[in-house]
Subunit: 310 residues, 2 copies
């Protein structure tokens, strides 16, 4: 069987990590990388991982998808979800009708938007549960977790492509499973992200400080319950024990600074709309109140605005 060709678009920490795993799993993986282009072209990505360090040397390192030689079987989109980034125009030049698009990104409604732009391409949503960050150009630290859930969209679409790439992920060392409903899986991740990402970005606190008082643990639970109730209004059934499990797991893991906090500290844009905006929009559509998500969203916007005014 010929090697599957994959192009990673958005080679931050997540893209480099999962791209590297797919490469280790036997695929021919290339990378669109702008930040640190020269370094990455010369030496690839060094991944310092809790499960063992490894090197990811992309087959092609390019600055734009249009520069890709050939046509990939999969485009793996790991770019951040920001109002100023147009994913469709980033990947359009490299697509053929046979290209499948896998999105490992945060947020809601991403698959529907892509399907709308590219109705003939197969769309797979992906949700990563991972602690990973870029330490320097070409250097990525993977400090915990790594679980990946992927699922075709719409959910009753043919699964052969999802199964194919799942097998490459597994061969490359990723705990990857098929989700029977990737949008429900996105909501499950939001239940963790909506409290922890903004609280850490706003306060500078790691997960241990955020959960450090009885009253703050209760707050995080209350925020999670708010997001859960919105997901259920939208028709997604969340497992009853999920919140308890999240809290227990987070208390157990090494104190962790979220990616939103690190983006904030480094003056990088944050995924405010993709996370909080998406949840608030859903709450509004069902005419329910979401005070915790509302105030977290507004506080993040105020911090950004107050920073600009300085």
């Amino acid at each position: 069987m010929r090697r599957i060709k994959i192009l990673v678009v958005g080679c931050g920490a997540v893209g480099a990590y999962y791209g590297g795993r797919l490469s280790a799993g036997g695929a021919e993986v290339s990378a669109v990388a702008r930040t640190g282009f020269e370094t990455i072209k010369k030496q690839g990505f060094r991944i310092k991982s809790v499960s063992g360090d490894f090197l990811f040397k992309p087959a092609q390192v390019i600055k734009n998808a249009a520069d890709y030689e050939g046509k990939p079987d999969f485009v793996l989109v790991c770019a951040k979800v920001l109002p100023e980034i147009n994913i469709e125009s980033l990947i359009k030049p490299v697509l053929s009708a046979k290209t499948s698009i896998l999105l490992i990104q945060n947020g809601l409604g991403l698959e529907a938007k892509l399907k709308n732009a590219f109705p003939h391409n197969h769309i797979i949503g992906g949700v990563a549960f991972i602690c990973v960050f870029r330490a320097a150009p070409g250097i990525v630290h993977h400090t915990d977790y790594g679980r990946l859930r992927i699922g075709s969209w719409p959910k009753d679409d043919d699964r052969s492509k999802a199964l194919l790439i799942r097998d490459i992920f597994i061969k490359g060392g990723v705990n990857c499973e098929i989700s029977d409903d990737i949008v429900r899986t996105r909501w499950e991740k939001l239940i963790w992200n909506i409290p922890f990402n903004p609280l850490s970005a706003i306060t500078g606190a790691d997960t241990a400080v955020i959960l450090g008082r009885d009253s703050s643990l209760k707050l995080v639970r209350n925020i999670m319950l708010e997001v859960k109730s919105i997901a259920e209004k939208e028709g997604y059934k969340i497992a009853p024990g999920l919140i308890d499990k999240y809290l227990a797991d987070t208390l157990q893991m090494r104190p962790y600074k979220t990616s939103m906090l690190m983006d904030m500290e480094n003056g990088r844009p944050i995924e405010r709309d993709a996370l909080l905006g998406a949840v608030l929009e859903t709450a509004k559509a069902h005419n329910i109140r979401a005070p915790y998500t509302e105030i977290l969203n507004e506080i993040l916007a105020m911090i950004q605005k107050a920073g600009e005014n300085k």
Copy 2:
């Protein structure tokens, strides 16, 4: 009539401003001041005020109330309300049974606590609506407002002392009125303070940024409504138009950094318990939820904790 003797305890910006006004109104006003003691003893307080600059030369400048020569008719307490400051022990050495105690402080339950400690002294609560800050030792900037509401506690107590000091305030240029229920007046002030003080301290934003988006204006209104509903549960009737008036007034005033933001920026302790803790305690006593106040309180605590860990 002999001059009324007043000792101001806690000569931050508020204490210096109102002490100075009482002095201008004809009272013999002394000051307990530790920060900037030498400067203040030598040259008093220079008050740069929107309503005209003035100098406040206290009759006595002392480091401890116990050093006061004589017995004052009034002790004016303007110290911040912090867990580590024990007001009772600060003022006890200077009290006689005839001394009235006037508290211009934020929070709830302060009058009851003092009455409990000094059952024979007349207690007057005071609530200031003022923008004032200390620019340097002995230098105070008064940038807006200045309205003062005072009321004896319990509210059916004899009002002669409150009327006496009100008249001195008015003579000194303060818009001072008697409140028929100073605890209700405290709640009215909390309805402004609970959104603006924490939001500014957390985000670094001034009042203009805080109210700068339709959605953030709505958030502030929602927070105010939460505090109002707790006050009403507690039995205090809040005027129906108060919130609209607060929002209109705040939109109109010059962009303002709250005292809590300035305390935060200068690494000084903040009145978290006096403001948010007091409201949450009341909500809990009535078994009602207060998500906005809850999350603001926890975020402030996380910022303090994350700061300590650095």
